[in-house]
Symmetry: C2
Subunit: 795 residues, 2 copies
Amino acid sequence: MTHPLDLAPPEDFNRLDAWWRAANYLSVGQIYLMDNPLLHRKLELAHIKPRLLGHWGTTPGLNFVYAHMNRAIVARDLDALFIAGPGHGGPGVVANTWLEGTYSEVYPDVGLNTAGMQRLFTQFSFPGGIPSHVAPETPGSIHEGGELGYSLLHAYGAVFDNPGLIACCVIGDGEAETGALAASWHSNKFLNPARDGAVLPILHLNGFKIAGPTVLARIGDEELTQLMRGYGHEPHFVSGDDPETMHRAMAQALDTVLDVIRAIQTEARVDGFTRRHRWPMIVLRSPKGWTGPKVVDGVPVEGTQRAHQVPLTGFAQHPAHIGLLEDWMRSYRPEELFDAHGTLHAHIAAIAPRGLRRMSANPHANGGALLRDLKLPDFRDHAVAVESPGASQGEATRVLGGFLRDVMWLNDEQQNFRVMGPDETVSNRLGALFDVTNRTSTARVEPTDDHVAPDGRVMEVLSEHLCQGWLEGYLLTGRHGFFSCYEAFIHIIDSMFNQHAKWLKVTRKIGWRRPIASLNYLLTSHVWQQDHNGFSHQDPGFIDHVVNKKAEVVRVYLPPDANTLLSVVDHCLRSRDYVNVIVAGKAPAPQWLDIEAAVRHCSVGLGIWDWASNDAGVAPDVVMACAGDVPTLETMAAVDLLRTHLPDLKVRVVNVVDLMALESPSAHPHGLADAVFDSIFTVDKPVIFAFHGYPALIHRLTYKRTNHRGFHVHGYQEEGTTTTPFDMTVLNHLDRFHLAADAIARVPRMTNSAAHVQQHLRDRLLAHRAYITTKGEDMPEISGWQWSANRVARD
Amino acid sequence: MTHPLDLAPPEDFNRLDAWWRAANYLSVGQIYLMDNPLLHRKLELAHIKPRLLGHWGTTPGLNFVYAHMNRAIVARDLDALFIAGPGHGGPGVVANTWLEGTYSEVYPDVGLNTAGMQRLFTQFSFPGGIPSHVAPETPGSIHEGGELGYSLLHAYGAVFDNPGLIACCVIGDGEAETGALAASWHSNKFLNPARDGAVLPILHLNGFKIAGPTVLARIGDEELTQLMRGYGHEPHFVSGDDPETMHRAMAQALDTVLDVIRAIQTEARVDGFTRRHRWPMIVLRSPKGWTGPKVVDGVPVEGTQRAHQVPLTGFAQHPAHIGLLEDWMRSYRPEELFDAHGTLHAHIAAIAPRGLRRMSANPHANGGALLRDLKLPDFRDHAVAVESPGASQGEATRVLGGFLRDVMWLNDEQQNFRVMGPDETVSNRLGALFDVTNRTSTARVEPTDDHVAPDGRVMEVLSEHLCQGWLEGYLLTGRHGFFSCYEAFIHIIDSMFNQHAKWLKVTRKIGWRRPIASLNYLLTSHVWQQDHNGFSHQDPGFIDHVVNKKAEVVRVYLPPDANTLLSVVDHCLRSRDYVNVIVAGKAPAPQWLDIEAAVRHCSVGLGIWDWASNDAGVAPDVVMACAGDVPTLETMAAVDLLRTHLPDLKVRVVNVVDLMALESPSAHPHGLADAVFDSIFTVDKPVIFAFHGYPALIHRLTYKRTNHRGFHVHGYQEEGTTTTPFDMTVLNHLDRFHLAADAIARVPRMTNSAAHVQQHLRDRLLAHRAYITTKGEDMPEISGWQWSANRVARD
């Protein structure tokens, strides 16, 4: 094992310190300067940006870690990623990528010379330039520095099934207070050193958030040590502010922890996984705004919360600050770092890794470039036989489980597919996966455990944050995944979805970023299946949240049965750069389409179900539309009632699988052309629309359509409790009786003649109510209802 | 100090064990039976519910803790709350409240007799009955057992400023994996024993979630001890399955930890707060489904994941299971517990606390009953002087800060108001609060810290989960609060908002639940003010999420300036049982209304700004509507352009403060009557609506209005980056130039004559773009734009 520290310490640290100073210099330059980048002239007000936007506080610490990681990469030929939890430190990470040459490679207008440096400075946090955070635009990054909390999860997601990779993850002490981060320390119980890479967490305690002190910086080393050990880590402390001492301490700590990591990996790879080790981590205590102005206008800045953003401001009002800024920048001795043309001196540049070993050029950080297609079985092999619509029953997600099992099996060699879920794989009927794999755990496994093993590929943890964060990291590094979740609780990761969708939107416009696999959600145990759990488990609003994001990155599917679900999932697993949201139930339910009909239906996104309609050749009196499995069932039962009791009524049935097909084509690429839409939904007939979610969403999607005023949407109205499955639809007026009654009421010519039918529907509702409150379950005529398979023949 | 354990252990444990058995018996009865509650007859299939819904696994552990807490309450005269993190254990908590008599007091039809017991059993998880989880319907509860993760936060929220209160908080090992729970252990750094009560966390390790093992049950006692110590707790382990041994161990552990808590409190209350202690907690390891069936059909159940829900099922198919169920229930020896009339034997009932000391009757759990009105200063005293509209500038949230300071000050004696925020109080310009209070911290405080103290009343932690959870607990126990947050990141608590809104909806229908103070959000540093941070910090969609919840509990306000903000916040702080969402900016901006005009405007919710309009006495050509501060500014600037360049165009300006006023009155109580709405927005003129958030929301709210087709909404379109404030509006077509151009394009008679104006607007946009990309800031004519104060005179 090479220890450069022991070999030639003074020389190494000089150059390493020079690198650090260069990165700090470039960071300050980005925050402040729009001219005179090398300070070849005396600094003047005109050289300083008018708007100063950026975060200095965390930056020197990030630069420090980056420089030291580079030293370790070179010494050990590491394949390493850099994940900057304190993404506010954008200027620091960008500075390092420029010093490594990567930045100029992907952005040739920002060259390794004075003009390039000036462009580097000017563009930062400048209109038409780059964001102030680590962002998709930053080479080597898989982690946006916006919303805090997900760095460690992204790091773990990146190294799963990447045995050669090490993710150096800097966690800010502000970020460490978030829920997601606090829970994610336990990710080490899901990492198997025999097949996965390693995460090196570096907890960077600079003591402050924006304005207040941080919790972990104020509990003392003893308590912090216990906390880290409790999380399954052995902390190594590097504390101080003297650069020379700190370089020595950091190099030593890094060598130690990397030795331990290698030892753990070697043991697991030679002997197989036998036990979970205490993984090393580093606690880096350094002053906030380290090496920046110590005191400004008599007030301490370095080492306080005042160093968080821009330590020096108000240059026009306080011309003396210009001198302070110049002194600060010159304290890095730029003339020792850059030649007259703004190029880093060769002897300093020489200490950086080369080529793909540069963290800024690590291919894992541009995962699409490494992405291999999933090997997909023919989903038709899993199809449910449907001889005629409604003739057979099936559990959609259970059928999907068989398909996913085969996906898992076929890609076992590639090791690039994982399924995530908060402990609901079996509950959501995807248990077939356990025919070929296990739940992942490297914590203690007991003999009575059900399919739990260190080499499992189903990641179950009761934290949607962890599932989401791991999966994001896994996808961003070029792999595939599937996240199944209780529908109501997916809101827990609303904000994480936001950030990922924003990342995708931005990356689509960055030429060098290659498309990654889509993030696929299966939302099940949904609002209409919570007879079990009640009101708190009922919320179909995630799709409302999703459709606020850019149409180019979001897709929403509501397959009505098992075969449509298969077709949709197959499509989603092949797609790239989307977030696909699939809502499908797990309860036994009628199956409507055979597999070929399902494929045709899904390829258009919505369509008339001729076999259920009786308006052939004429205009319908009413359109009965539906989206979602339970709404489809209730619509079919309502159509059954209508056609039985009012055979003259011309009913058209429309089913929607791809919700975005409802949108105007100008608003979403899946939107149906207006002429087609009008031909299906008519331009003036009443449309009784039974929808899985909140009714407003259908109005929102269709408000530009000709017949929008004719849409009468039934959906979830926040009425629910622990009751029978059918009663849930009754409480929200989504049931067959309400749907049929609404249809009759909306057809002018039926209003009087159908009074007796309306009375019949009311009676049936009352009978339902009386039955369930005494018997506790749905009437057999409800729970046993079946679409008349020979209806087509009968017509 | 009394130690009942030492005085008469055998007797106490017999009766305590009897109580526990009674609670277990009643729990099983609730899950299974609809008849024969006391098993006076042989159990038959007809006595068993057809649908079996409930969770047995966690229940006996909850019952165990409840019984032991009762013992401690009596011995020490404790004022205690019971918070059941594993809310799935609904039958257990309900059983205890029934045994204590409270249930029958609030629900007289569920009496303390055989009929009452039968009703208790039947209603559970039954249509028309009660939910299977701990719920608002459960007396003594402030914590819904639906979405997991918030028990410890609710416990802390409850005891803040309640020095006499102790919250016994049972945390399931499943829940412990969530992000919110993992972070909330650190709440003890925000608890001051001199003024706050105590939380006793009881981590209940029964080993399994739904299907898989839990992390904390599998890391071993040593690592778990370190974790708890790292969190600032000293764990006391109670492990086993033998009831007698476990009773002794639990009683001893509880006595020990309560002694420690009392000692910590005494020290802090005698000497003042001097140091943070390591607070005691209990780790309870007991089998999942403890005392339930050990083996069913040859498969182990007790102590495995199979005990999670209903251990015995399929009675019709497996008649032998009926006997197993009867054996199970009889194992609790009901004849020793209840008399022939179904009443708990007096000697057992005698061990429970009395009156308000019963945890089920603790008044803190019905916080509305304890609620004292906030003392509110006259918000008019904080008004910004506005001599004429737009004549003065102000920072809305900074003005609000002064008002909140006075609120804090006036209620210092009552100690019933706290402000929460993720470290953004000063950043959000509410810093005036620190004139009268500090940030809360009982961790180490350093001399350079800015207003940090153990007695601070501003709770800053970089976790929206913690802010939200603490505040919920604080409100639910009858106090007041205010949560200020960056707008984009409030999505982090989308799901927590859901659960709180659902709680409010349900409690409004429960007669004995008294109204609590509303949950007030201030969303600031909003989407239009993220020039600083860029795309990742831009998301105005929380209000979309909020309006999916029941209209009766949600309110959304978009005050356009400081005086309207004052009026809105004053109103919100007086309101009850709502969630109020207020969106307001912190940047310097024109002030439109003097305080009396602001009050009038807010009381209606929306209205015509006559002084900005020139349509007096005639129908307008176009309505320029706006909601939100930046949209109002841009609308006013657009109106300025229109009136300058097209003086013949009749423009009406409408401002919306109360977003729900746009809704139909049938959909929301604040909805304006259609006739009034039509008179304001016209029935056929174009409405150019500049909106703070996603445009779809305005369409959604107005889609039933006559002139809906006339609404052309400009809002956030997910276009953003780090750029100038004005450029953000340009990127999303919300700027004055786009608004004015849209208005001209929509007025048929203007289309040709105004071509030169359209060209002028395009030129101005191009000039803007050129300016910012070279200068880096907005043109002075943009950033310095002012509404012409003498416009009214000029007209």
